[in-house]
Amino acid sequence: MSPRKEIDANEIKEQLLKGYPSKVARKRSQQIVVNAKDEALNVPEIKANTRTTPGIITQRGCTYAGCKGVVLGPTRDILNLTHGPIGCGFYSWLTRRNQTRPVSDEDHNFMTYCFSTDMQENEIIFGGEKKLAEAIREAHRVFKPKAIGVFATCPVGLIGDDIHTVAKQMSEELGINVFGFSCEGYKGVSQSAGHHIANNQLFKHVIGRGEKPSEEKFRINLLGEYNIGGDAFIIDDLLKRCGIHLGATFSGNSSYEGFENAHHSDLNCVMCHRSINYVADMIEEKYGVPWIKVNFIGAEATAKSLRKIAQYFEDEALTKRVEEVIAEEMEAVEAVQREIRARCEGKLAMLFVGGSRAHHYQELFNEIGMKTIAAGYEFAHRDDYEGRKVLPTIKIDADSRNIEELTVTADPKEYRPRKTEEQIEALEASGLEFKGYEGMMPTMENGTLVVDDISQYESEKLIEIFKPAIFCAGIKEKYAVQKTGTPMLQLHSYDYGGPFAAFQGALTFYRTVDRMISARIWSQIKPPWKMAGQPTLEAEFVHAE
């Protein structure tokens, strides 16, 4: 049953806007778009990556969360030290489900630890640089890490602590790489700014320092894959079976050494376009490694991504092996798809999450016959919605301008174009797209709703109107949605299940969605005496003769 699918999306948009004060309604009207693509896949413009309206109940996080929590968090052997009051370090302690596998018992793994300078009032008044320096010394003395990252929280920027100078001094004093991230929570408009700050610093301070190129053939890096619930493991297994060697992952299951040597790989594959596409650009400019967009969420998408990689390497044996693996996997996948499609076909899904997840996971829903009726990102930019072709038209506002843009030139020693211009052209002619991302909206049906930075109020309205079979977002939305009787799947943490990537992950996803939608408990919410048709007056007991 797909109730009220025929409702006009424009009417719904008007309904959503009606509840707001008029000024806010004007702003939101540009962030709520009814999808309408033409034959050339041009879509209407959406306002994205702009300031959150205060008090609206946003689901967005901050720059620190994007920098320390998302990008650097999954790296096991960098000691991540939060400079600030205790909260920021505490909340980002182990809460993102990034899995990691140290290669040996001796290998460093600091991910289970929370390191903080636990700033006190005294340091807010007199400055916290001394305490920071001492904390770095203590961290070095007790933990002997290869590298230390220092993360600034809101008050650090205000009181003017110079974390970069302290990091530099400590680097010299201790003889290890110490680098800082000016990721104060108030910078930028969402986590996205934090990703950028994190990636810039990794590019400046880590990538390219390594001198250990691996000898394997077909070396790629995976960018924008954070190994939530083991996604990167399952992708790595798949690549191995195909004979493709995964160099570095940014930053799921990652290591410092992997980052250092990332420039030795021959292809960068970008998963989450939002959080990292600019790093792929910078690596290409500095080291000559081209990049392609991939997506290992969805069985079809996985097959397509593997084929793209094989196409890039232009190797017959690799292509053959990739086709064999796809054929082996697809058989099981299709069988399960058929079974689950019978129960899920035509049901409605909504996805409001991330900077790419709301797009990627639509593939999986399509594969079991479900339709995404509304979707949106929490922290994406226009190019993630409308495609990279709009990049030249995106205006840089004040909030984006305070995020550093690195100017990158070819490295005199390490720049090595992996393909000649002619080769690239030939590959493009044969259908391989470099640096391409179509965006979410061109892949969604016309008349669906696209909502950027959705508010709690809007989520509630959409659920009320569409009564979707499933709603996907994050932990903050989870239980409010479920209280309406709608199954809610977290796409940040996978509800502590998954992995959902690649073929095996797709199977897990289909089964998860099927399980959630078909759970018996949804029919038992009302007690039997409140079910429709129950008489209000019951017969009374009589004594048996």
């Binding site: 004060p21 806010v24 300031r51 959150t52 309206t53 205060p54 008090g55 609206i56 109940i57 946003t58 967005r60 996080g61 901050c62 969360a65 030290l81 600030g84 009051p85 205790i86 909260g87 920021c88 505490f90 909340y91 980002s92 809460t95 018992d105 793994n109 600091f110 289970t112 630890y113 929370c114 390191f115 903080s116 300078t117 636990d118 009032e121 807010i124 305490k131 001492e134 904390a135 203590e138 961290a139 007790v142 809101c154 008050p155 205000l158 104060e184 929570g185 108030y186 910078k187 909030d399 109020y457 932990i475 903050k476 239980y479 409010a480 479920q482 209280k483 309406t484 009787g485 919410i525």
Partner: protein, 460 residues
């Protein structure tokens, strides 16, 4: 090993905190505000604070946690957050129709020095606060105190803003329950009602953070202390504050503002602390302790006498919040257990003295650490030096538990990986019984798992 870098070698640290046994003030203020009926908590700072607090509380309760944020940008950080808060108040009252917005500050807005009452006045002038609606606030700088301090400050704000002095006192007694679970708040109210005492409890998160699944989402669940009730607290005959850290400031403020005498008690966790609470109720409200309650108490004593051999001498490490730790320590000592390592990141006078009193000289080897540098890393190092039989603390203890193969009882905040804490109380005699069951379950399961086959016991 999950915590592979933790060794027995304890090095002095003066600046580095590792695996803290506390978090920051604003989350406590948010939790307390949720115990006010139809209240929308509001975080005046960067939006990350609000996102983190909502996430942490949601994971702990598996319930919706709604709150607004001022979403500071670089500009507001330089020029102040006034316009953000004005907009936020207008939007929240328009969209979500709360009866009251409870604003708490953050390290950011505190460092800037935003004056919340002045901004709220401005909001009133601009007509952003509808007739009959309220805005209250608490200053909760993250670089002072801990999450418990934040709770205490917001509980006090309820008094500062809403309690009204009354010339005539009534029979009612105010209870400030401290940072305990909704189930605990419900249990404390039940205890009072069973003794025939009329109470106003604030904050009260029961029926808010354990709301039923009905198929209809209620943005404001039915629980929480109401504004008329809070106004009435000034007419009550007394206040019982449970927990010195979390509850005393509100109770004292009420005494000063409305002349309601207060008594500050330990959290009624365990036998003796519950006894003191029941006795205080009896004295304050001039009521009898009903037989029913004495029977409840008797069952607790019965279990302790029956199973004493399993408690006796067992070494326990515990960490968490001061008020919880004091009562837990006392209870463990009453069981002849040995709480040997006690750690809280929350600062505050008198904790060490109270713990000393709870230990009653019976555990001379006990190590107690509070405030800066009192973290779970240090406690784990102590354990590496001399192990314990049982861990009692929040979910972060599961890493130590697995590495050291030591059973863990989840208690305190946050519990991210189990349910139960919001449904089953640990306060009162019923709560004591539940704690006993948990302790025995943990210790006996451990014995079952590790005993040699020949001494694997059927009857225990």
């Amino acid at each position: 090993m999950l915590l592979r870098h933790t060794t027995a070698e304890v090095a002095e640290r003066s600046a580095l905190s590792v695996n803290p046994a506390k978090t920051c003030q604003p989350i406590g203020a948010m939790y307390a505000a949720l115990g006010l009926h139809r209240c929308l908590p509001h975080s005046h700072g960067s939006q990350g604070c609000c996102a983190y607090h909502r996430s942490a509380l949601t994971r702990h309760y598996k319930e919706p946690i709604m709150a607004g944020t001022s979403s500071f940008t670089e500009g507001s950080s330089v020029f102040g957050g006034q316009s953000n808060l004005l907009q936020a108040l207008n939007n929240m009252f328009t969209l979500y129709d709360p009866d009251v917005v409870a604003v708490h500050t953050t390290c950011l807005s505190e460092t800037i020095g935003d004056d919340i009452p002045q901004i709220v006045d401005k909001a009133n002038e601009k007509g952003h606060i509808p007739e009959g609606k309220y805005v209250i606030h608490a200053n909760t700088p993250s670089y002072v105190g801990s999450h418990v301090t934040g709770f205490a400050n917001m509980a006090k704000a309820m008094v500062d803003y809403l309690a009204e002095p009354a010339a005539m006192k009534n029979e009612c007694i105010n209870i400030v329950p401290g940072w305990v679970e909704p189930a605990d708040m419900r249990e404390i109210k039940r205890l009072c009602w069973q003794m025939g005492v009329d109470v106003i409890m604030f904050p009260d998160t029961s029926d808010v953070l354990d709301a039923p699944q009905t198929g209809e989402y209620e943005f404001y669940p039915k629980g929480g202390v109401t504004i008329p009730e809070l106004k009435q607290t000034g007419a009550s005959s007394a206040t019982l504050a449970l927990g010195h850290t979390a509850s005393a400031p509100a109770a004292r403020a009420l005494d000063v503002k409305c002349n309601v005498p207060c008594e500050v008690l330990d959290l009624p966790i365990g036998l003796a602390a519950t006894d003191r609470f029941v006795d205080a109720l009896r004295r304050t409200a001039r009521v009898e302790v009903p037989q029913y309650l004495e029977n409840e108490r008797g069952r607790v004593v019965d279990v302790i006498t029956d199973m004493h051999q399993y408690f006796h001498g067992k070494r326990v490490a515990l960490w968490g919040d001061p008020d919880q730790l004091v009562s837990l320590t006392e209870f463990l000592v009453d069981l002849d257990m040995r709480p040997v390592y006690i750690v809280t990141g929350t600062p505050g006078k008198a904790f060490l003295k109270r713990i000393e009193k709870a230990l009653d000289g019976r555990v001379p080897e006990a190590k107690v650490k509070q405030g800066l540098g009192a973290d779970m890393f240090l406690m784990h190092q102590w354990i590496k030096n001399e192990p314990v039989d049982l861990l009692i603390g929040n979910t972060y203890g599961k890493y130590i538990s697995r590495d050291e193969d030591t059973p863990l009882i989840r208690h305190g905040f946050p519990i991210l990986d189990r349910i139960g804490h919001s449904y089953f109380p640990t306060v009162g005699y019923g709560g004591a019984l539940r704690l006993l069951e948990k302790i025995l379950d943990a210790l006996l399961s451990d014995q079952d798992k590790n005993s040699p086959e020949e001494s694997f016991e059927l009857v225990m």
